[in-house]
């Protein structure tokens, strides 16, 4: 068993009928480490995240998450693995607009028994605690998600990704819609909460100025042999 939370070996991936997007000989993230993965837009960041989340599988190579080889899991078990071990935050539109903020957070444990079992308190109370710590009032927590501001929505998404203490948190440019001040506070909160859970964080961004808040920083162009200009054409 390696000590790495994430380890990629010789991973090659291309979208159907397109030129290769990723060719990563080796990359790893330490357990409980916080990693900033920087890449220009169109460098294959989102593709790499889909592979890490087990939604897509590479044509070649091995992706090990928490010691589990994703390629060995069936599609169904990869879904289950994701539900159990990975919290995911999108760039935007993270929430189901018709559920309340609270119900959106509870979605995080709805598909995973394991994450439900990890909760010390009832799920509702935990969700309520998280949202309160992230600065949402009781009233806002019961509002439909569609009525919240973008910043509030991202905080709800963070709570959903962290509830039930998954081992790995993947964030795909979650701060791109926030101003600098709110962005820094969001990242601090996120790191603070994941640190408390011992969660490994992979935070993707195009903004190198955030690097100081993270323990590690990787340039995607340093680990990806496919040159950015080529990938750019493929990755929207």
């Amino acid at each position: 068993m390696s000590t790495a939370a994430v380890e990629l070996t010789d991973v090659k991936f291309s979208w159907p009928a397109q030129r290769p997007t990723l060719d990563i000989p080796h990359w790893q993230v330490e357990q409980a480490g916080t990693m900033l993965l920087r890449g220009a837009s169109g460098s294959g960041k989102s593709t790499l995240l889909s592979l890490l989340a087990g939604v897509n599988t590479p044509q070649q190579g091995k992706i090990e998450l928490l010691g589990t080889d994703l390629a060995r899991l069936s599609a169904r078990n990869r879904d289950k693995f994701r539900a159990d071990h990975i919290g995911y935050i999108f760039q935007q539109f993270n929430l189901l607009p018709y559920l309340s903020a609270l119900d959106n957070v509870l979605l995080g444990v709805q598909f995973s028994k394991q994450r439900r079992q990890r909760l010390r308190d009832p799920a509702e109370k935990t969700a309520n605690d998280y949202l309160t710590r992230l600065g949402l009032s009781q009233r806002q927590q019961h509002q439909p998600a569609a009525e919240l501001s973008v910043g509030q929505q991202q905080r709800v998404a963070a709570a959903r990704a962290l509830i039930g203490a998954p081992e790995l948190l993947i964030a795909d440019e979650p701060t791109s819609a926030l101003d600098a001040d709110r962005r820094d506070r969001f990242i601090n909160l996120l790191l603070e909460l994941s640190n408390a859970n011992g969660t490994t964080v992979i935070f993707v961004t195009h903004d190198a100025s955030l690097a100081k808040q993270f323990q590690f920083c990787t340039e995607l162009s340093d680990i990806n042999r496919v040159t950015s200009s080529l990938a750019e054409a493929d990755d929207a």
């Binding site: 989102s46 593709t47 995240l49 889909s50 989340a53 939604v55 897509n56 599609a75 169904r76 879904d79 289950k80 994701r82 539900a83 159990d84 995911y88 999108f90 539109f93 993270n94 929430l95 189901l96 607009p97 018709y98 559920l99 119900d103 979605l107 995080g108 709805q110 598909f111 995973s112 959903r160 795909d172 929207a236």
Partner: protein, 409 residues
Amino acid sequence: MLKLATKSLLNRKVSVLLTVVAIAVSVALLLAVERVKEQVQENFANTVSGTDLIVGPRGSQTQLLLASVFHIGSMTNTMSWASFEDIASRREISWAVPISLGDSVQGLPVVATTDGYFKHYKYANQQALELNQGRWFEANEQAVLGAEAAQQLQKNVGDSLTIAHGSGGLSFSEHDQHPIAVVGVLERTGTPVDQAVYVSLETIETVHGIEQQHSDEHHHEHHHPAESISAALLGLKVKPLALRLQREFNTYDAEPLTALMPGLTLQQLWKTLNVFEQTLNGMSALVVLIGLIGMLTILLASLRERRREMAVLRAVGAGPVTLFTLLVTEAVLVTLAATLAGLGLLYALQWSLQGVIHTQTGILFSLNFPTAAEWWRMGLVVVAGFLLSLIPAWRAYRQSLSDGLTVKV
């Protein structure tokens, strides 16, 4: 899952509600066709019981049955009193009741008959007629009213009425010279009996006699209550003889007659009407299909807007199968709600139109629990909704596989 589907549907209230209404109306229509058919048949079957044969002048059996018992349509021919007496005196006949039709009171049919009608006419489960007030007519120029007729004419025992020639609501020749006294009102039966006015054969003869004296050559020489009658209801001593007697009366020598067994003729009538029933069924099934396709359209159109929603669900660990199930659940919820609403609508319509239908046609639509055939139809609608939902569900499944977590909109 159920909660998620419900909330997602509630989020699209307006379009979902419209779909539910469209399907509900079509389901109500589908059920109404079945219900009307069943209850009309039951009502008709309930109207005559205990009468083994009906004999009348030569003509179509259906026409004779409808005119003599249901007061639908009219009879152009008559049979002679002599033939009636001959038939009534046969050994096999237990009782014979003559009826003469063709007159009306404010559009309600007048049935001229004898007191045998009151004694022998049976409806539903061999139930006899009963008087609610007064007595059966005993003399000339007395009338007994059916329950509905009494209500519609607003007449009661002691009032008088005038008979008009012809069955229309407005008659040209009202026999004003002969006010008829109401002597009794029948108990409600829920059959066409309720709608008629009953008088003796002699009453009708007198009413007509006056008229015909003006026109000439009509003499009351014989002691017949009537010269001719419209039909005769017969009861047999031995029921199985009905078929043989029917054949005999159909080939009656003295004059051309038609005889029928009520139950059998009704069945033949339903068989004839089966084509129309099937057509109505087919059409209402198509209407249901249109409603369901409306739902399909809404689900498919919403898929495009819901790609991000699907990606979010994928991110929290929902598999493509879960998304498939979600869409199927939504569609089944919509069809279930719509079907129940359709059933409710049917009851509401039935409840509100019951009175009108009863006074107009004499058919009483009872608000009973859905029959097996109706449950079947509702079940089929839900199954059809389920099958159609597989299309958008399959699309969502494919979409979620190709989109993954990155929605390329």
